[in-house]
Structure formats: structure tokens, C-alpha cells
């Protein structure tokens, strides 16, 4: 009983973390058809910026409760700055190239940013655990859970609902949907696709940095934290279907629960189970659970 409670809650917390990281990735793919490996670097940059700023903020003796706003601000700043830099500086020159080539382009950007992190922040670990412990713990059916983890679940829901609402309930979102379906036709109708791409990339980058920023209090921030995250995010979005927000949510839940179950029942299978599920889904539904297969063109 206790184990199943632990599996469900650990799974949910892990899934919400996965979703926060992946939703930006799937958004960028959906609109721009770019599978962005550099998303992992934005996660790392977000984590570093958050850890650094929270350290500086609390070191200044300000009220600790507002450190959550510092985390948020760090994510927005990092996402905006690097989003513009990557999109305007590099991706802009590559539009219209092959999808797979774009993966390699973002891989190159990822390599550059990996070292940029080391140059900017050094190689020593950063700690910013105060926001994590600040809210205390709460008992869930006999198991103590940090309140912060529930905050992460709420954050993931908020991010998901925010993106969904933005896409489906606003004018800009509808324009975006038009661009997703037919880029050339949208241009012909006067939609500024350049601006749409830039804004999408910035929002996606911010979401990636957000995932990193709110994970920073839970872990020690060290070089290379983005490397593992990006393949996990790939697994999530591929399971859900590339470009599908709802798919990313389901994908995150599947991966999160599967991993939690493995950790509690069969620890040796922790990593295996994630990529096992990914392969299984790809084997039976090559385009993921929630994406429509493309038609073959001559």
C-alpha cells in the first residue's frame, strides 16, 4: 500500500518535472519543426541562473519567501536572452533546411552552450536549497512529502494550461495554429511568420529555463545537468507525439509513473524502463500517441 502511494506520488512529481521541461520542446517542434537539442542547455542555464541569483538574493538578507519570484525571474531572463540569441543569431540562417539537419544544428548550439555555462559560472557546484526546505513537508497517506514538490506539480499544470490557453483561446494562438498548418499560406495572408517563430522560440526557451530554475533548489547544480535532461525530454515528446501539448502531458505521466514504479519495485530497470517505453511506443505508433502521421509525398 505504502509502496503504491509512493509510486503514484513520486511518479506525479517526476512527471510534472518532465512535463515542464518537455512542453517547451514540443511547442518549438510543433511550430518550427525543430527538434531542439539546445533545450537541454536552456534547462542548465536556467538552473545556474536561478541558483546564482537565489544565492545572491538570500545573501543580501531579503525575505526568503520572495525567492520563488527570483527563480521565475531567472527563467524569464535566461529564456528571453538566449532565445533571441539562438533564434536570431543561428536558427534564422537555417530555416527551410532538412529537419534532421536542424537537429544537428541545435546539437552544435548545445555543445557551444555547454561550454558557455562553464565559462560563465565556472565548474564548481552551486547550491540553492533554501526555497526547497522553506515550505516544510506534508503527510500524504503516511508519507512525508515536501510542499515544494506539490508546487512543482502546480507549476507544470500552470505551464500546460497556459500554453494550451494561449494556443486555443487567443488571437495570437490561432495565428500560430495557422502557421503550424501551412506556413506559406500564412505568409500570403499577411501573418508575420518571422515574428511568430521568434516569439515561439522565446516562449519555448523560457519554459525550458523554467524547468531548470525550479529544479535548481532540489539538486546541486553542476556542469552537464542538461545532458541527461534532453534525452529524457526527447523520450517524453516522442511518446506523446512530436508537437502535441496534450501528448507531452500523457508522455510525461507515462514516463514518470513507469520510472517511479521501476525505482520502487525493480531499481535496476530505472533507465531501461524509460527508453523501453519510448521504443515500444515508436514501434507500434511511429508518430507517437497523439500526432497524425504525415502523408508520403512524391
Amino acid at each position: 500500500m505504502l509502496t503504491s502511494v509512493a509510486i503514484v506520488f513520486d511518479g506525479l512529481v517526476y512527471a510534472s518535472w518532465l512535463f515542464t521541461v518537455s512542453v517547451g520542446l514540443t511547442l518549438i517542434y510543433g511550430v518550427m519543426k525543430i527538434l531542439n537539442i539546445a533545450h537541454g542547455s536552456l534547462y542548465a542555464l536556467g538552473a545556474y541562473a536561478a541558483a546564482y541569483l537565489v544565492g545572491a538574493y538570500l545573501g543580501g538578507g531579503y525575505p526568503p519567501l520572495f525567492s520563488y519570484l527570483v527563480l521565475l525571474a531567472a527563467a524569464i531572463a535566461v529564456g528571453a536572452f538566449f532565445g533571441v540569441l539562438i533564434e536570431r543569431g543561428i536558427l534564422r540562417l537555417m530555416y527551410g533546411r532538412d529537419e534532421v539537419l536542424m537537429v544537428l544544428v541545435t546539437y552544435a548550439v548545445f555543445l557551444v552552450l555547454e561550454d558557455a555555462v562553464k565559462v560563465i559560472f565556472g565548474v564548481d557546484p552551486y547550491f540553492a536549497s533554501q526555497p526547497y526546505g522553506l515550505l516544510g513537508t506534508v503527510d500524504v497517506l503516511g508519507l512525508p512529502y515536501p510542499v515544494y514538490d506539490f508546487g512543482l506539480i502546480a507549476l507544470a499544470l500552470l505551464a500546460g494550461i497556459g500554453v494550451w490557453w494561449g494556443l486555443n483561446r487567443t488571437r495570437r494562438g490561432k495565428l500560430l495554429t495557422a502557421v503550424i498548418h501551412d506556413r506559406e499560406m500564412s505568409v500570403a495572408f499577411g501573418i508575420n511568420v518571422t515574428a511568430v517563430f521568434l516569439v515561439t522560440f522565446i516562449i519555448g526557451s523560457m519554459l525550458g529555463a523554467l524547468g531548470g530554475a525550479f529544479t535548481a533548489p532540489k539538486v546541486s547544480v553542476v556542469p552537464g545537468i542538461g545532458v541527461e535532461v534532453i534525452v529524457l525530454a526527447f523520450a517524453v515528446v516522442v511518446i506523446g507525439g512530436l508537437g502535441s501539448i496534450g501528448g507531452a502531458m500523457i508522455g510525461a505521466l507515462i514516463v514518470g509513473l513507469a520510472r517511479a514504479a521501476a525505482v520502487h519495485l525493480l531499481p535496476q530497470a530505472e533507465l531501461f524502463v524509460i527508453y523501453g517505453v519510448m521504443s515500444l511506443v515508436l514501434a507500434f505508433r511511429p508518430h507517437g500517441l497523439f500526432a497524425r502521421p504525415a502523408t508520403r509525398k512524391i
Binding site: F110, V231, Y275
Partner: protein, 314 residues
């Protein structure tokens, strides 16, 4: 094309004595670098082979690792020390796995091919990392290799593994060149350009891709086994996605123009890496990434296209 007229084959055949002579005079560190980069160059060659058919494998580390572990486990657990047997295992095991996975992989193209190959390599990584009998993340050491009963040690052993690596790598490259200049080999480019038409012309792209996938796995497996023999140690990082990413990097940088390109490219990269790590340890990947972007932007055919252009006199 006959052997006598094919410049690539002649060049490769001449490379064997040249490499062996170089091995006798080069300092130990440089020879070792050459040896290791020939091994990883073979894995990159596997990526190149698939790239010619328009498929980017982001999980070639799977077969590199399988080759290494097949050789390593036979040596460590079964006490097999003969390098030729280990090498053969390093080809057979990855090929067998590729034949099976190929039935699935051959149905995938573009980004889905890349993602599925990534998933498979990460599965192997996930298993190896948690396998305590295999040393988890630390991996394990291989016993000293013997060569058909000849059991050297010290400097003689190092030269023997170097010689084996050179001969094996170049032989594989020559065989692959013959394959690529055959009709079967040329069809890869046709698939990349227009798969549907290839189908209409009466060939099965799926079978062709399957065959290419298995050949690429075998070649990468040889690379893995050679790397294991050269370094004397294996660990799960051989299957991690960054290893595969590195192979893709080498393939892209070198270009798909010649089978020699990834081998030379891997060596140059290792050479640059050694100096970059020495003088600027934290910006090494940055240099890599920037180079990759420049190559993608300005040299879509890779560095080899510079060589090829000169050869044509254009």
C-alpha cells in the same frame, strides 16, 4: 571499376604500409591517438554509410558499445584472449542484433529513425549502467590480447594491437568502398533523393535500408571491439547519446564523399581535441560546436568536399 583504376582503393591499400611504418617511428602518445581514432572513425563510418541513404543515426553508439562489450565480455568472463576471435565476436554480435532491430528500423525515416536509434542505444546504456556484474558505470578491463598464439607484452603488445587496428580499419574501409561503388551501394543515394521512385523502379527501399543498417552496425562493431582492445577497458559511456553525437559530428564534418573521410576526420578531431583540452579546457566543446555550425552553413559536403573539388580541378 577495376582495382587498378580506383584511386580510393589504391590509396587505402598504400595506407596500410604507411600507417605501419608511421607506427614504428611515431611517439607512443601519437600512435595511440591514431589507433583510438581509427577505431572511433569506423563507428563514424557506420554513420556516414547511413547518411548516404539520408538516414541520420543518433544511436550508433549502440553498436560501438555492443562490439566493445562482446569482445570485452568474451575476454573477461570466458578467458578468450585471441584478438582475432574477439574481433570476430565484435562483428557478429552487433550484426545479429542489427538484423533483428533492422526489421523495425528499416520502416523509419528522417527524425523518427534518429529518435528510435537514440532510444535503442539508451536502452543498452540503461541496462549496462545498472548491471553490477559488468561493473556498472565503471565498466571493466580486458585481459591482454594474444595473436594466434603469439603473446607479446609491453611495447611489442602495443605495436601488435596498433598493427591489428590499422589493418582491420583499412580493410573494412576498402570493403565498404567496394560496396558503395556497387549498384547496391549507389541505390542508397537514390533512396535519399526520392524513395518512392526507387520503389516504382521495382526495388524495395526497406530491404536496402535494412542491409545498410546491418553493414553499418558491423562496421561500428569492429570499431567498438578495436577500441576495447586498444584501450583495454570498456564502460557504458560507449552507448551514451553524446558518444553517438560525436560520431554524427565526425561524419558531418568529414562529409560522405569518401570512406577515408571519417577515418581521417576522426584523427584530426582527436588531435585538435588533445591540444584544445591542454590549452583551453572549458571552451573545447564550444570550438567543436562553432566548427559544426560553420561546416553546416558553408560546407554542406563536409571537409572532404574541399579535397574532392581540388581533385576535379574545378
Amino acid at each position: 571499376m577495376s582495382f587498378a583504376k580506383d584511386k580510393t582503393l589504391i590509396g587505402l591499400a598504400l595506407a596500410i604500409p604507411a600507417l605501419l611504418a608511421a607506427g614504428a617511428i611515431l611517439p607512443d602518445w601519437l600512435r595511440f591517438l591514431l589507433q583510438v581514432s581509427l577505431a572511433s572513425g569506423l563507428a563514424a563510418l557506420g554513420v556516414t554509410l547511413q547518411m548516404r541513404a539520408g538516414l541520420v543515426s543518433f544511436g550508433q553508439g549502440l553498436y560501438f558499445c555492443l562490439g566493445g562489450y562482446a569482445a570485452g565480455m568474451a575476454g573477461h568472463f570466458l578467458g578468450v584472449t585471441d584478438a582475432f576471435v574477439l574481433l570476430a565476436l565484435g562483428v557478429l554480435v552487433p550484426s545479429a542484433v542489427a538484423v533483428l532491430l533492422g526489421f523495425l528500423m528499416a520502416r523509419y525515416r528522417e527524425i523518427f529513425f534518429a529518435m528510435l536509434s537514440l532510444a535503442f542505444s539508451m536502452i543498452l546504456y540503461g541496462i549496462l549502467v545498472k548491471a553490477e556484474a559488468l561493473g556498472s558505470t565503471d565498466g571493466f578491463n580486458l585481459p591482454k590480447a594474444t595473436f594466434l598464439g603469439y603473446a607479446p607484452s609491453g611495447a611489442a603488445l602495443r605495436f601488435a594491437t596498433y598493427a591489428l587496428t590499422c589493418v582491420a580499419a583499412v580493410t573494412v574501409a576498402m570493403a565498404l568502398h567496394r560496396y558503395l561503388t556497387s549498384p547496391m551501394g549507389f541505390i542508397g543515394e537514390a533512396i535519399r533523393e526520392n524513395e518512392l521512385r526507387v520503389e516504382y523502379l521495382g526495388t524495395s527501399p526497406r530491404t536496402i535500408v535494412h542491409v545498410k543498417y546491418v553493414i553499418a552496425a558491423a562496421v561500428s562493431g569492429v570499431g567498438g571491439a578495436l577500441a576495447a582492445l586498444s584501450v583495454g577497458h570498456i564502460d557504458p559511456d560507449m552507448a551514451y547519446w553524446t558518444t553517438s553525437g560525436n560520431f554524427v559530428f565526425v561524419a558531418l564534418l568529414s562529409g560522405t564523399g569518401s570512406v577515408a573521410a571519417p577515418l581521417i576526420g576522426a584523427f584530426l578531431l582527436e588531435l585538435v581535441r588533445i591540444y584544445a583540452v591542454e590549452y583551453s579546457p572549458y571552451t573545447w566543446q564550444m570550438i567543436l560546436g562553432a566548427t559544426m555550425l560553420l561546416v553546416i552553413l558553408f560546407l554542406p559536403g563536409g571537409l572532404w568536399s574541399l579535397v574532392a573539388r581540388r581533385g576535379r580541378g574545378a
